[in-house]
Symmetry: C2
Subunit: 291 residues, 2 copies
Amino acid sequence: MTSFPAALSAAADRVEARLQAEIATLPPSVVRDAMAYAARGGKKLRGFLVLESARLHGIAPEQAVAAAAAIEAIHAYSLVHDDLPAMDDDDLRRGQPTVHVKWDEATAILTGDALQTLAFGLLARPDAAPTDAGRLTLLATLAHASGGAGMVLGQALDIAAETAATPLDLDAITALQAGKTGALIEWSACAGARMAGADPAALIAYAQALGLAFQIADDLLDIEGDIALAGKRLQKDEKAGKATFVSLLGIDGAKARARDLVAQAQDALAPYSADADILRQAAQFVIARKG
Amino acid sequence: MTSFPAALSAAADRVEARLQAEIATLPPSVVRDAMAYAARGGKKLRGFLVLESARLHGIAPEQAVAAAAAIEAIHAYSLVHDDLPAMDDDDLRRGQPTVHVKWDEATAILTGDALQTLAFGLLARPDAAPTDAGRLTLLATLAHASGGAGMVLGQALDIAAETAATPLDLDAITALQAGKTGALIEWSACAGARMAGADPAALIAYAQALGLAFQIADDLLDIEGDIALAGKRLQKDEKAGKATFVSLLGIDGAKARARDLVAQAQDALAPYSADADILRQAAQFVIARKG
């Protein structure tokens, strides 16, 4: 059996190639250059989850890679806009200047916009899912997961928290995270079931635990991480006095909670037996990663 | 036969209601409020074109209204982002404070993002087109028309023009307009043919002439318009020293060119005979409008 790191790396290469190929179909412009730049690198964990959940449902990567590229385009757009001065005001991303630093704010706004458009365009491609019905289900669920009921809602809650009189409590942080990070991870992990018209319940349970573990790990990296590995300004949340899982649970409490969630994610995959071992390893990986 | 103003007004009411109903399905948030605010008002000319081209192909408004709402959501998102300080820096839109003035820049960025997401989500709804294949064709063509090969490309060219050493010539202005305004108008006018699986060639020819006439009329309004009617800061392009159709052709030349384009748009509808009279009136309207 393939190991998780090998599967992740193969998926990352495949998804990045598909995404860059789609960007390359656009007419030359500064926005196209900035899109290619913003889509480069990263772990491509979300794209991997799409391909792996597709495989679990008997769908080959060639029949699902455009959906995997689509979720990475959504993720890339959200990072470009998140990094803007009016949002998180970050100048480094994956160790490189952010788009508005390398170009300018207007280019960064348009680049994020066009990456989102590209994501939805990818879902109409024949290699997004084996059937028209599958493509339309992916479309409807991605719009729900990434818009004003999902990722953007989480970002809006995050911004509201910054000016709130009192720090968020654990329930509020969990709700915020469910939108901001969780919704895209859940969509990715469920994509294969949705392409196949199968029940996504087990993958939803897996993804919800995984998404929360992922965010806790991110908060821990933010405190403990090494700037060279994580490639972004660290301890930012701490400096901003923002409530995080770590500030609410403590470092040891947050680590224990992340371990529980990983076990929960792995248990949720019981219906898939040994076929889901790579997804089980993926859950372990999110709390062991260093960047 | 219905007259164009009656058809436009009926379409505007129907499309706005569908769009607001979709926004109302989102969980409460400042972004949802700002989306509802940004989607309010306007002529809804693009939504009208979708419903009217659907009618021409035997498709009832109830089977197409989500597609009409989708294009208006795209248009609204583009205005919210265009108005941002890093872009056109406008504080008034349709006579009201723009989203970043009424709320703040972060909210405006997220509101535009979520309106775009909503647009694509609407195309997955049963009332976007009578068939799955129709919905997917609308999705693929809207992604092309609104992204880095269409509207966003036009905006990028527009920004580049502002810092260019020499003003744009007529060909460059025409290419810029084809992306910035033309692509969405073309998508709207062709939507009915695409829903029905019919050849959109006649509607493409109509829309290309209409879109150009629309932009020339906009440039003329910018020079001659009345601030109370147009509801936005006027003579902005002139102040910025930007090349426009009016600066290149003169007021009389621009008016003559717009009249020729309207005739061209009307002629392109020959295959539809009298059934397309409302679209013929629409072409006349775009150069006669006062705001």
